[in-house]
Amino acid sequence: MKKRTEMIIGIALMVVLMPTMASAMHIMEGFLPPVWCISWGVLCIPFVVLGLVSINRTARQNPRVKILLAMAGAFAFVLSALKIPSITGSCSHPTGVGLGAILFGPAAMTVLGLIVLLFQALLLAHGGLTTLGANAFSMAVAGPLVSYAVFVMVKKAKGPRWLAVFLAASLGNLMTYVITSFQLALAFPAEVGGFTVSLEKFMGIFAVTQIPLAISEGILTVLIFNAIVSYAKEELTHLSFFTKGGLNNAQ
């Protein structure tokens, strides 16, 4: 009897899972119990509101920086479309949210990151609508926050600009997947060992895979950041963040 139910469950799972085996790195559609979907979603709302306000203000005060905003969003668009092989023998993709977080602050990037996640959830069956809140929290809230904080800290410590950008982008990338592991471990604590055992497991899957990708993202962000600095000095000085003396002093 037990064997039979086991087999039925197994076959049912296979049928349900097969189509979603397409590779993707965010939490998959339907794979987070509703309580968690709602909780993470609610946590994101204040950041989205702050982000909309911040983008509105930036665009009104300096209409010229809009082109940079579009480019920061586009950068996240490109990078999160690139699934790159990693040392663990599986693939994952960078997030590209560090650049925007450094330029426009973490809240603005929440909105841009959300757009990327929506596009992927709706058209690519990558991530999902029910898991949008959780994925937005990891990629569009926690990632950019860490990027921004790291950038400011390295600047405060008078580190060189390239190092600040590199560390901001790569640690923000890594943080996104550490949070993803946390979210899954919270929702699926192991029967033996509970949360910590699950966390270890998911970290091994997501975070370790992400290490080389984090380095790549750091490098790519430094490259595009340098290009923006050399072509768009004017816009950068308009962004209040830089007039505080951070960037210009480091030149």
């Binding site: 469950i9 799972l13 349900v16 899972l17 189509p19 979603t20 085996m21 397409a22 590779s23 993707a24 790195m25 939490i27 998959m28 559609e29 339907g30 794979f31 119990p33 509703p34 082109i67 480019m71 586009a74 668009f77 490109v78 999160s80 479309a81 790159i84 092989p85 990693s86 040392i87 663990t88 023998g89 599986s90 693939c91 994952s92 959830a121 709706l122 058209l123 690519l124 069956a125 999902g128 609508l129 029910t130 899954l184 699926f188 604590p189 192991a190 699950s198 497991k201 899957i205 080389p212 990708l213 380095i215 790549s216 490098i219 790519l220 490259l223 340098n226 290009a227 072509y231 768009a232």
Partner: protein, 99 residues
């Protein structure tokens, strides 16, 4: 100026190596998505878990999916290219104006 170009090329080379090296180091790996691994882990932890929602739209095949991913990258790259073209053209114009 010249050394800057060399440094940039070196940086790009590192990114390429980081992406290609795993293919040679892990010869037998499948290189599936990290999330598919997570699905396996979830079903191991909680064997009776069933996804309670499935994607409304799913690409019909790997080919269609890669088309959409390529489209996503292309849109992004197009916007970035337009932005740099615009900024570069503007700077050149300013230089000419100043001269």
């Amino acid at each position: 100026m010249r050394s800057k170009v060399i440094i940039n090329l070196l940086l790009v080379a590192i990114v390429v190596i980081l992406a290609v090296a795993p293919l040679y180091i892990m010869k037998d790996a499948e290189f599936g998505g990290a999330d598919a691994e997570a699905e396996k882990a979830i079903t191991k932890i909680k064997a009776d878990y069933e996804p309670w929602f499935s994607p409304i739209f799913e690409p019909k095949s790997g080919e269609v999916e890669s088309l959409l991913f390529a489209l996503q990258a292309a849109i992004g790259a197009g916007i970035i290219g337009y932005g740099f073209g615009y900024l570069r053209g503007r700077r050149r114009k300013q230089d000419e104006g100043a001269a």
